[in-house]
């Protein structure tokens, strides 16, 4: 794990442009790989494909694996690639079993602001353009090994350009239901800071992440959605 030095940033969604404080925390250098996840299910049988409860992972859980303890025919090629088709519950359990936890949305977004050289590259046109390009590319047939993801300022690899990642409070984005339909608040459904809205609309990549998260349910497993763990200090 590497140290992500705390600081403040203004998240895409928040109350009144108030910068959010992120405490210094530890984060995994890479997303969790197929090989690492295999070791996990080996030890914890209830997270095997055939044993997992539908409440905790839908029918596409570990879709590309061809058995409880087999990554499949392309194991050699993808064992060091990010594990995908995992649910929030399974990702959370994995991290807890390592004595870690999932990163919060705020921690994840804060760490993802970093380019190779800057902790906050929000205003770096080139960095931003590259992120947009990744999000517009279709998924490759085989995800690359995690080591190939670009290394950012903190020493984290592949925060952008590898897979989408689960966060602990993915359900906190204030976008109701079908994210493409209603990005505004419905006063009927919410109270409190009901006027939360998008802050930095030019940050389209972050907007996509928030929209994607709010479309997820905790037992969903998606083909390009993986995770990495974090830890408080």
């Amino acid at each position: 794990m590497v140290n992500v030095k705390g600081g403040t940033f203004v998240p895409l969604y928040g109350s009144d442009s108030i910068p959010v404080k992120v405490k210094t925390f530890l984060m995994d250098v890479y997303p969790v790989t197929n090989a690492e996840y295999l070791a996990f299910v080996n030890k914890y049988p209830k997270w095997r494909k055939s044993a997992v409860k539908k409440l905790f992972a839908d029918e596409n859980y570990l879709k590309k694996w061809d058995g409880d303890l087999s990554i499949g025919p392309n194991a050699a090629k993808i064992q060091n690639s990010p594990v995908i088709n995992v649910s929030w519950f399974s990702a959370k359990a994995y991290c807890e079993c390592q004595g870690k936890r999932l990163a919060t949305v705020e921690e994840w977004e804060y760490a993802a602001l970093a380019s190779e050289t800057k902790a906050n590259a929000a205003n770096d046109e080139k960095f931003y353009q590259r992120s947009i390009e990744w999000y517009s590319k279709p998924n490759p047939t085989y995800l690359p090994p995690v080591q190939e993801g670009f290394r950012n300022y903190y020493g984290l690899h592949g925060m952008i350009g590898m897979v989408w990642e689960w966060t602990q409070n993915f359900n906190s984005a204030m976008v109701v239901g079908e994210s493409r339909a209603d990005v505004t608040m419905d006063r009927q459904l919410f109270c409190g800071s009901g006027s939360d809205g998008a802050k930095d609309v030019k940050n389209y990549v972050a907007f996509m992440r928030y929209a994607f998260r709010s479309s997820l349910k905790a037992n969903y497993t998606v083909a390009n959605l993986g995770f990495r763990c974090a830890k408080s200090i």
Binding site: K54, L55, E96, N171, A173, L189, F190
Partner: protein
Amino acid sequence: MKYLLPLSILLGLTLSSCSETNPTDALAAHQNTEATIVTELSDMSLYNLESEWQNENNETIKLVQLNGKVQLVAMMYTNCTYACPRIVADLKRIEAKLENYKNGEVGIVLVTMDPENDTPAKLQQFATDNNLDPERWTLLTSSELNIQELAVLLNMKYKNGGNGEIAHSNIITVLNAGGEIIHQQEGLGKDPDETVKTIDGLLQNI
């Protein structure tokens, strides 16, 4: 009787979410030795959650102890001034239409989203202030992570603004006796008829 779980089994379950066995495996292991019939939880039962909760009497319970009756579940916090009184009002409107049913057939569960503030004592006070029948209503708190885990299963979105207010969706969930989500009523001040009909339907099957 179908869903009755002996307390000894419930107390025996001390598994965290990082455990090597299934909770139902533990149930099965006890099944032969216990006289009471134990029904295995279905795959989609919320009672598969192993987290521990405190009720308004400061007793520690597991969600599986809510089994055996239809439960209406909603999330709120006691400092909430706008939506939460209304969601309690909505639940009371539903409750008023259930007067033919005994408390042993339908329960109502309020889960706080603000565990820092809502201690069991606060929840008890809230229940008293709102004239909530203790035989019918259960108020629960737990750690933030456990609450979050239940919230995602109830399709609740919420966010603590850090200014004493929590932005949240308003959903009333109907669970059957086995803890599966059967119906959800979304929004405030909704006509309770559909929810009541769902409960009627469930209770005719018990």
